[in-house]
Subunit: 289 residues, 4 copies
């Protein structure tokens, strides 16, 4: 969507609500002569908070991203106690994907990057098993085998952190990574680590969830993608979806339908992140889409 020399700027911001804060933000853009392409806001009138996402074109010329950031901080953010982040179109998001033995989600993520649907790059794949190395390298992506288990977690998580830092990773995606990650990894990637969970309707705890779903005769199966927090499966939800099933579907079919649904929901969550459409506030996500 961006022509050469005309990067699109994206702003995500949150501020205490004062009646004029919305006007001040858009005024900042207009007075510089820039054109707004997209403008979404939400006001939480209970908590008196203002949330905004803005996209505008920055015509080529003398203005640098740093100029824009400094001016915005001084003129808008500081006086309005704003939390904000700003992106300039050029740099793809660098993603690390953690996997175990299943490629399905990784394939989908790779394809969204390769095809240009996302301005992102899978820069690193980390796995606790060596199985997917060849298939990963086929796409020119670095693969690291870190044989983590309950006993050596500290050593391997430190190694994983090092790999993430070396590769300049911004976003970590857990794509059916069958190990629990600890605060060591989560803390530096808070709101930058996304997981996918086979949540069912009604939710089935314990082993063999799809067998339970079949036995119970559910008519819908679900999946949930969320940011990872130390509280397992309780992080802020980014995307959820369901698929209809019938008595005709066998347990293997439910498993396959569930996996495809997970792929779809995970991709939706990662896509929202990459397009800078997700804000986190009080354990919930604000999504501008």
């Amino acid at each position: 969507m961006t022509q050469k020399g005309t990067p699109t700027v994206i702003l995500l911001a949150k501020a205490p609500l004062k009646a004029s804060v919305g006007a001040v933000v858009t005024q900042f853009i207009y007075k510089n002569g820039w054109e707004i392409c997209s403008h979404e806001q939400w006001v939480d009138h209970k908590k008196q908070s203002y949330f905004v996402r803005l996209e505008w074109d920055l015509p080529g010329g003398d203005v640098t991203p740093e100029d824009v950031r400094q001016a915005f901080e001084a003129e808008v953010a500081l006086p309005h106690e704003m939390n904000w982040d700003m992106w300039f179109g050029q740099e793809p998001v660098r993603i690390a994907v953690f996997v175990t033995k299943e490629m399905a989600h990784l394939y989908e993520l790779l394809m969204h990057c390769i095809s240009g649907l996302w301005n992102a790059e899978v820069a690193l794949v980390i796995s606790n098993h060596p199985d997917l190395e060849a298939e990963t390298r086929r796409f020119g992506v670095a693969f690291h085998h870190t044989p983590v288990n309950a006993n050596n977690k500290e050593e391997h998580e430190n190694r994983q952190l090092e790999l993430l830092r070396e590769a300049g990773i911004e976003l970590v995606v857990l794509a059916r990574y069958m190990q629990i990650v600890t605060e060591r990894l989560i803390a530096p990637y808070r709101n930058h680590m996304i997981n996918i969970h086979h949540s069912m309707l009604p939710a089935f705890a314990g082993a063999r969830p799809y067998q339970q779903a079949y036995d119970r005769g559910v008519k819908l199966i679900g999946a949930t993608s969320h940011y990872v927090t130390e509280d397992l499966d309780a992080g802020p939800i980014i995307a959820q979806d369901v698929v209809s099933v019938t008595h005709r579907n066998s347990v293997p079919e439910l498993i396959e339908m569930g996996r495809r649904l997970e792929t779809k929901v995970l991709s939706r969550a990662v896509g929202l992140y990459i397009k800078r459409r997700v804000l986190v506030e009080g354990g919930r996500t604000i999504i501008f889409d």
Copy 2:
């Protein structure tokens, strides 16, 4: 769909799978010169069970429903160890609706009956509160107030049973009836008593489910309609659905959206029952729709 003198017959049946059972059933209809309008079957090859739903036109003449039933029993059902039921278009399903203080679901059920969408009649409304009497009677429907509570349940459930029998009720619908019903009522209405449950995704137990859903920031809320069994909320599921919600929806909005979803899901379940599209097998429903 039925012209005068040409009732539509509906058959729901289950039998052990023998290769010829399907042929025998349809042969029974063809050799009598009747025309099949609708024909659905499912074979559970694991359990070697055969399920079928058939609709056919019965031209007016000398043949009575009793004739058809007797011939079918002798020629098809007995030799094939079949469980079956058969309906002839004329008689509307007589429904009793149990409510407490909310009309929303009852309105929807009434409208489906009055408008002719369903061949059914709300013949009786029973409530543990007197509030909805006037609004119920406005539709010409009998209303009975049975002030049941934990201490007098036996007495009132016996009274309720009596009312159901006197009114010739075939189907009981619990439409946000805020009392637990016991085996006393459930047993005589097994697979003829439908409830609606605000199951959420993920499921929220305990008080104020929609507040919990809001706090958790879910993107979907759900509802489940099922046959009532003694095991609370664990009966065979007939229909489920979800509705998308966003951070913009307040708790009151979630409550309203949830209630509308419940109305829709309950109506779907009751409609499937009335159109004779539901079979129960091993705690699951087989639905031909």
Copy 3:
């Protein structure tokens, strides 16, 4: 949602975009000490237009609706060249429904009014056939038979207009009314007259659209609800939806599924109108939902 003495005020407005217009509108509410319940806006940056929908609580006291309107006009609307409308919770929307021989849509509209889902009242039913008189009167609604045809349209449309005026009708709903209405009726009800159309995917012109859909083997059938304009079926679209169909569905089933879909889509459109969520701009609708 409104407690006695605390009406909810709804504002729908459009203005040329100046950076401060949004702030001015919310400032008007805040400085009066009122609480905003809902706040949605959209900016058409191409056309430099600002659209807003606001809901706020007006605490009981000395302030009358007329006070609020006058203050808003003087302080906000006039200086900002704003087109606007404002509603105060109390008065139900008075609806007239035009029908021919089918009750399905009318039943649904009646039920939404009776159940309190909508703050609205079907105050009048007008038909070119006498068939639905008894069923309409059962709900205590006035019914008028105006036997309009191609030759006497002027006379009958004048009579219809008179009936609409006498009943203080704000919204006219064409619910499978099988007569073309002329400018005579449309002009005084511009953006206050809603129709439902069986638009198909792909669209089928001509006779027997569902037979055509069946022959073509479509997998989806659709419906469209729109404001009525002189240009037949080209008015601003308010709601559209589709339903999946399969090769198993017969033409009568397609007709019934299509009619139910129409009912749903028409109700959605009328509900959006009643909740003051629809603005019209340049032949398109802006919908805040």
Copy 4:
């Protein structure tokens, strides 16, 4: 789903309806001691036609596919005037994709093959432009540039046919191939050539369909995938879907949403073909899914 040595056999068949035809088909499988995994049928009672799709496991041993085919022909198909086809799990479907300048659909098709979701292989890409050669070859797929235009169509279509034959292509997918194909190509690939069409709701003929959709303010955009026939865009429909849009979506967003929808609908259609779930009858598809 198939273990080594236990291929899954799929049968798609159509026959005149005689009451016993269904029994004869399943009897054929049972008497050989094979286990049915999936069994779907549809009876068109109007036309007295029987359609069936069966999947069963063929235990390893002496029986060859040719044995099965011959026995089925002799015992079932011939005596019942059956049209039928049978597949044995092993051989992937060989696909040729025709493109012009857009990779999006091709990426999706490639990923479904590479990931093993489909038992299929993109064996050949043909384009009237050279642009996508490098990106295609990256996946190890042969690319042929046939610069067809209105004047040289015969010559190039003959070349294309030759390429299809040499590569042993079973299925041709037109993935935004911006040339009209003639009977020369269509005839040998009847019911083996799938196209994707941006059909809209309501349908927009002529240039710039998404601009028209925007101007008209539609709330849904659609896409249709169908078998190619000589009658442009009138072939049997395999899959259709829609996506909701709002006034907030710009024309470029509509174009992108439309393209993604097309990708999804085309993949759905191709997947149904590959899984042998599509029968064609009288210009309509019978889909067993």
